[in-house]
Amino acid sequence: MTMLSPGFADPVLDSQATFRAVLEAMSRPGRVLAAGGGLAPPAPLGRAAAAVLLSLADADTPLWLDAGAAVQAWLRFHCGAPIVADPAQAVFALAVGEPPALAALAQGSEEEPQRGATLVLQVTALTEGEGWRLTGPGIAEEHRLHVAGAPEGFLAAWAANRAAFPCGVDVVLCAGDRLAALPRTVTIAEG
C-alpha cells in the first residue's frame, strides 16, 4: 500500500473555506485566491487542486485524472470518488500534465447545462495584472491574468468552448496554494 497522508485537519471548516474560495473565484473570473494552505498532498498534486477536489468531489462525482497512482489512492481514500478512464464520463477532471481536449469532457445539454464537467487544471503560476485579457460577467471592464504553464492551444480551445454556451466546461486553474477560475461565460483574449 502506498503511503497515505492526512486530508483536511478540520474537514468541515476547511472544505467550507475552500468552497467559499471557489465560489468567489467563479463569480470573479481570473481573480487569484488562496486555498489548501495546510495540506500535504502526494506529488504531483498541488495544495490548491487537492483542496478543491477534497471539497467538491465525493461518491457521486466520477473523477478523471492523470496524476498517477499515489494521487489516485489519496483521492479515492479521502473523497471516495469513483475514478473513470473516459474523460467524457467525469464530473471533475484533474490534469497535472497535458489536459484532455475540452471538447472531450462532458458538455452538458441545452436542458441541463449544469452537467458540463469542471476541469481542475494545474499550472505553474498565476499572476494578476498582466497576460490574458478576460471579459464577461463578473468583470467590470477587463481583468488581466497571466497563466504560466498553460497548455498549448488553450485559448483556441477556450473560444470553441465559449461558443457552445450554455453548454461547455468550467476550468479551475491551480498553482501551488493559489487558484483562479474560468467559468464558461468568460471571454479570453491574448494579452
Binding site: M1, L4, P6, G7
Partner: protein, 146 residues
Amino acid sequence: MTDTEDRRRWMAVLARATADEIADLLAALPPLPPHERLRAPETGLVMVRGRAGGDGAAFNLGEMTVTRCAVRLGDVVGHAYVAGRDKRQAELAALLDAALQDPARRPALMAKVIAPLAARQQAKHEAEARKAAATRVDFFAMQTTR
C-alpha cells in the same frame, strides 16, 4: 498481505469491545509508537439494508450510527468502523488494526488483547443466551397441559 479472515475476526472483536476494555488491555503491553490520524474519528449514519427471507428484494431496514477512523502506524493503515458514537473506541480499534497487520506485533497483541476480548464477548453472549433460554415458552407444552 494479512490473511483477510484473521483481519475480519479481529476487526469484529474490536468493534464489539468498549474503549475502556481495549485501553485496559493495551496498558499492560509495551506502548505502541505514535500514530498519525489519516481520517480523524467521525460519526455518521449508514443505511442498513436487508432482504426479506434472505433472498427477497432489498429494503432499507433503518439508519445506524457509526463512527469511523483511519490511522497510519509506520506505513501500515488501520481502519475501524464501530457502532455508536465512541470516538475513542474507533481510534483505538483503528490503531490496533494497524498494529495487528505487522507480523512482529501480531502474536503478542492477539494473545493479550484480542483473545481476552473475544473470550469476554463469548461469555457474555452465552450468559445472555442462557438467560433467554430460561424464559423460553414451549407453546406445544402449553397446549398439552391445558
